[in-house]
């Protein structure tokens, strides 16, 4: 893997029967960057992210995550990543604290480390009165923040976020992205998929998927210039139209 890259994807293909969900994807993600994986619903983003996390096998192609090969070294990948799925996937019948203790423990953190980090987290997020509540009793915005915190609690090299801001109000979304920036500052690479194209502006680089293929990749500014657009929404529409021609 090249110096500075933390994810390398070469000719990734994923087929379900005859349906090609990911069609020859090629991209790299650099260390400590925020990489936005954009596209409309059904473009193939979730399929790709699942492959990167070791949840799904590629049909063909080379994929390396954090230096580990996705075919043979999935255990290595798992130890070094965090993941937040679309449904947030916390245990509803456990408290916030218990969820953290559980996942952190599985990632191998010692009890004292969990304790101290958790105290920091409580302070930072201000969840003194929430920490012993059952997750099912939390409002959506809080569930989202907690899920993110769980995903990065063990300070992984990369964290994969699959549509993390779906269904959440704009203010909470902004707060969430603050959390993401903090994570990046501490050295974590963030790989995020979203269909909110305005969030693309928050990323260092983005790729835009249309129908299983990456149609554009680069920094938001680069893309806006290339497609002569004022914002990312515009870029996307132009790309989509191009497809139709």
């Amino acid at each position: 893997m090249k110096e500075g890259n933390i994810i390398e994807v070469e000719n990734l293909v994923k087929k379900f029967g005859s349906f090609v969900a990911n069609d020859n994807l090629c991209f790299e993600v650099k260390k400590s960057e925020i990489f936005g994986f954009l596209g409309a619903n059904g473009a193939g983003k979730t399929t790709a992210i699942k492959i990167l996390c070791g949840l799904s096998f590629p049909t063909s192609g080379k994929v390396t995550v954090a230096g580990f090969d996705v075919y043979k070294q999935r255990d290595g990948i798992r130890k070094n990543i965090g993941y937040m799925s679309q449904g947030f996937s916390l245990y509803e019948d456990l408290t916030v604290k218990e969820n953290i203790q559980f996942y952190a423990g599985i990632y191998g953190l010692s009890r004292s480390l969990i304790k101290s980090r958790f105290e920091e987290l409580v302070l930072k997020l201000g969840i003194e009165d929430l920490k012993d509540k059952f997750v099912r009793d939390l409002p959506l915005g809080w569930k989202q923040k907690i899920a993110f915190s769980v995903a990065i609690f063990h300070k992984p090299q990369i964290v994969f976020l699959d549509e993390p801001t779906s269904g959440v109000d704009p203010i909470t979304r902004r707060q969430f992205w603050d959390l993401i920036y903090e994570a990046v500052e501490s050295g974590i690479t963030v790989f995020v998929t979203t269909h909110y194209l305005d969030e693309a502006e928050y990323c260092n680089r983005v790729s835009i998927m249309v129908d299983g293929r990456i149609e554009a990749m680069g920094t938001p500014d680069e893309l806006k210039e290339k497609y002569n657009s004022k914002n990312m929404d515009d870029v996307f529409v132009k790309l989509a139209r191009k497809e139709k021609e």
């Binding site: 996390c53 070791g54 949840l55 799904s56 096998f57 999935r74 255990d75 798992r78 130890k79 990543i81 993941y83 799925s85 449904g87 996937s89 916390l90 245990y91 509803e92 019948d93 456990l94 218990e98 203790q101 559980f102 996942y103 423990g105 599985i106 990632y107 191998g108």
Partner: protein, 372 residues
């Protein structure tokens, strides 16, 4: 190892927080061992039959008295209108109408054979067959008695007879509850091992947390053991609870060794939980899991000898039972409790359960993949 403990901690927390689980774990043993055992009694109680005596002789009264004395029958005697037979049977006023014909004694004294007409409501085929047998038995005892006294040509020689002495071992009082309780316990333990385990795993699949788990470095064996161990413990707990209740309420004996009982229970739970795991590998929704299990469960239970004995089944069915774990555990439980059988006595069953468990568990674990 620490990971396993963390998983177990979470599992137990979730189980005890589930409002459904607590009553199931602690109340089900009570309900099953009390209600089910009392209700599920196939004990053959006295059957109501009617004797119609058209002869009114010493012999016929003798025969009627024999029927009266029989432990199988509850008789009523009536003067009868033959047109009523069908009606009486239809209305289930009586299960059988036996007619002692006229000239019963006269013919017997002359050595002329006589026929008793037996009208039996045969909707319950088994019951009807039994009635027939018992009537014949009663008649046979009469025959043995009268032979020396009548004018039969064979009367010069004392007739030969066998004095049948029956000893009912291991359950002298023929207490049906002693038969049923182990059966109910098998159902109880099986439900926990197969049903609950399977539903639990499928629920995680349905809620999406399974995916989150698959992303972490948890090893397959840690996750699966974490899922299975709690139910193994609950199964043992409930078995003990149910057994305790049974022994208290029905005086069910415990002739064998406690240790061997628990060893067998653990082996059986291993097999049952493996089966539950296997089913959960193939089911995506709780509904699917539920119905698949119910399907197999029903077949296993019916064929396993819980309510009726396996010896009554056709040969091919008995062969099929070789892959029925419930069949083995049923035999084991009854043998240990009522007969004091040891592991050596039940070695065949022991090995069979182990083989079954290992096979099922291996397939189930192999089928469970973190990556699709």
């Amino acid at each position: 190892m620490r990971t396993l403990l963390i998983i177990l901690k979470k599992e137990f927390k979730q189980i005890f927080r589930d409002k459904m689980m607590i009553p199931v774990i602690f109340v089900m043993p009570f309900i099953q061992t009390i209600v089910l055992v009392y209700a599920a009694t196939l004990e053959l109680k006295k059957t109501e039959i009617t004797i119609v005596d058209l002869d009114h002789s010493e012999f016929s009264r003798n025969l009627t008295a024999k029927f009266n004395a029989s432990p199988f029958f509850d008789i009523s005697t009536q003067y009868y209108n033959f047109g009523l037979i069908e009606n009486d049977l239809l209305r289930e006023n009586t299960k059988s109408i036996i007619i002692i014909p006229q000239n019963f004694e006269k013919n017997l004294r002359q050595g002329i054979p006589v026929k008793l007409q037996m009208n039996i409501n045969a909707i319950d085929g088994q019951g009807a067959g039994l009635i027939s047998i018992y009537v014949n038995q009663t008649v046979a005892s009469m025959v043995r008695e009268i032979l020396p006294r009548n004018g039969n040509s064979n009367v010069n020689v004392m007739p030969v007879g066998f004095n049948v002495k029956s000893r009912f071992l291991y359950n002298e009082e023929m207490n049906f509850k002693h038969f049923m309780l182990p059966g109910i316990l098998v159902i109880l333990v099986s439900m926990i091992g197969i049903f609950l385990t399977s539903l639990n795993i499928v629920k995680e699949k349905e809620s999406g947390t399974m995916e989150q788990i698959n992303v972490t470095p948890i090893k397959k064996w840690q996750f699966l053991t974490g899922k299975m161990l709690p139910f193994m413990l609950i199964g043992i707990l409930d078995l003990s609870l149910g057994l305790g209740i049974g022994m208290l309420l029905y005086n069910v004996p415990f002739e064998g060794s406690v240790v061997s009982l628990f060893i067998f229970t653990i082996v059986y739970l291993f097999a049952g939980i493996g089966l539950g795991l296997l089913i959960s590998d193939f089911a995506n929704t709780q509904q699917q899991a539920m119905f698949s299990i119910f399907f197999f469960f029903l077949i296993f239970v019916l064929m396993g000898g819980i309510f009726t004995s396996v010896e009554s089944m056709p040969a091919w069915a008995q062969q099929l039972d070789r892959i029925n774990p419930i069949y083995y555990f049923m035999r084991i439980l009854r043998s240990i409790l009522l007969k004091g059988s040891t592991i050596t006595d039940l070695f065949k069953e022991f090995i069979s359960l182990i083989i079954f468990g290992i096979t099922v568990m291996s397939i189930a674990v192999w089928k469970y993949q973190k990556t699709n």
